[in-house]
Amino acid sequence: MPFLTEPLTFNVSFTTRLIRQAEEFSCEQKDAQKARQVYLNTLAVQAVQFYCECIGVETELAASDSWNAAMRTLMNVADLAVKGKGKLECRPLLLGDEVCHLPPETLEDRIGYIVVEIDEENYQAKLLGFSQTASEGRLSIRQMPSLEGLIDAIVDDIPETEQIPLSIEPIETNFVRLWQWFRDVFDESWQAPELVLAASYRGTATRQEHESLPRKKRVKLLDVGNHKIALLLQVTQVADTELDILLKIYPDDGNTLPQGLVMQLLDDSENVVMETQAGSADNFRALNFQIDTEELFSVKIILENIKVIEKFTS
């Protein structure tokens, strides 16, 4: 991919609101040269602030000298405070210029310097690069490190475990069609309970049988992290268009469920309707509910950052 070798930059197009803000600040200055300096500084700060907004980094204009009337009058500053990090200096550079001079008042108390190229004619800006240091008081855009360094400086690391795709994208399977169960058509992963479950289960699940109603019962073994969990689903046709569903989870080894394991019932918009959580010595958890035959539902099993989803439809 040839594109990947290009330095990382970001474009900003100035809207009326951003231009007016810069004009408002520059109108406070009697000296024309100072007014122009304030105008460009304000544009540069707003360009960087927009990028921060896009990437979800919180900024604090109220804590920035560029946003304080007396401070921006006395100093040549284009600082932007980033919450919990420190101040960025957002230096404007006119289109065509190659070297950005850093005013002496910006050489202390900064976490880094961003060069913001301003194209006045087209009301555009480009975040060109980021440097953590400015020891010589000038940045040359030819030797400027790209924006990756900025992201490193202001974005918090997300813990590595959360970056494993497995835990982010829940494991999903195709819809299980319950109606087919009544015709004895089962997906091979759904098996007869007596073939799968330990002896301890058999006594508990067979009580309160309504012999007269059509009923099917199947079990699927789920891999939830390092644990094997048996999900039992019992479906009973209680009326022409109504099904009674009993969901139970068991530990596959017949002992107890992992503590903190959660089973949720989700509706077709994936909102949680019911849930149950395993305590320290539970050997099963259950949910019981009725649905119309048209309804979709899902069962979500959660253990810490592992999520497994099974979807059902009649």
């Binding site: 991919m1 594109f3 990947l4 290009e6 990382l8 930059t9 970001f10 474009n11 900003v12 197009s13 100035f14 809207t15 009326t16 231009i19 406070e28 200055q29 009697k30 000296d31 040269q33 100072k34 927009f50 907004e53 896009c54 990437i55 979800g56 000298d65 304080n68 009337a69 007396a70 401070m71 009058t73 006395l74 100093m75 002496p104 008042e105 050489l107 202390e108 108390d109 087209n122 009301y123 924006l147 990756e148 992201i151 490193d152 974005v155 918090d156 690391d157 997300i158 959360e162 970056q163 795709p165 982010i168």
Partner: protein
């Protein structure tokens, strides 16, 4: 699918592999946006029929949208450029509406002043001139010059009472550079600025208090 399309698709997949807010996702989306914008394939119908600011409203909204909604992009349903251009044209339409609304507001405002007769118009102008607010920069200068609490002149570099905040600030407001002042007082430029910057920070609440009045 051409080279650009497949590159954009790869970047969107790369972005989705990493959790929202993670550095790698941010880098991938930033790269994706740069590639989209430099492709020359952004298309916005009627872009030149309105002032540039209308298009800018729309493209800014698109940039925000890509960062927040990259997970919604489904490469099996549309090419990235198609997805983006659809969003851009939608945002452009709402930017036009907003622009037209503002235009109407301004028109009715100017009509209101134009129905005034000559006398009241002159009155209005007189009022505007007499109430013209002074430059804020002049207010800052005045505050430092008057120094009613005697704080600005009493803040000076150790052992050098003549190199005080008041003197430095007034010179700076007159446009003198730090180098000239450093030579004048024979102190290193960095020392001068360091002192000045710390003093400004120190006096920030004082300025805020007076400028509010």
């Amino acid at each position: 699918m051409d080279e650009l399309d497949s590159y954009l698709k790869q970047l969107s997949e790369l972005a989705k592999q990493h959790p929202p807010g993670s550095k790698r996702r941010i880098i991938a989306v930033t790269r994706l946006l740069a590639a989209i914008e430099s492709s020359g394939k952004l298309y916005c119908q009627g872009k030149y029929d309105y002032p540039l600011e209308v298009y800018h409203e729309a493209i800014q909204a698109v940039r925000t949208y890509i960062f927040r909604s990259i997970d919604r992009y489904d490469p099996t349903r549309a090419k990235m450029m198609t997805w983006i251009n659809q969003k851009l044209n939608l945002e452009f339409k709402s930017a036009i509406k907003k622009f037209q609304k503002e235009q109407q507001g301004e028109v009715s405002l100017s009509r209101k002043t134009s129905i005034n007769d000559g006398d009241s118009q002159r009155d209005l102008e007189d009022t505007l001139t007499s109430e013209k607010t002074p430059f804020l920069s002049d207010c800052v200068r005045q505050l430092i010059e008057e120094d009613i609490e005697d704080i600005f002149k009493n803040k000076f570099i150790r052992g050098r009472p003549e190199v005080n905040f008041q003197a430095i600030a007034l010179h700076m407001l007159d446009g003198y550079g730090g180098r000239v002042l450093a030579d004048k007082w024979d102190i290193p430029e960095q020392t001068l600025y360091s002192f000045f910057r710390r003093s400004c920070k120190n006096f920030k609440p004082v300025f805020e208090k007076y400028l509010r009045e």
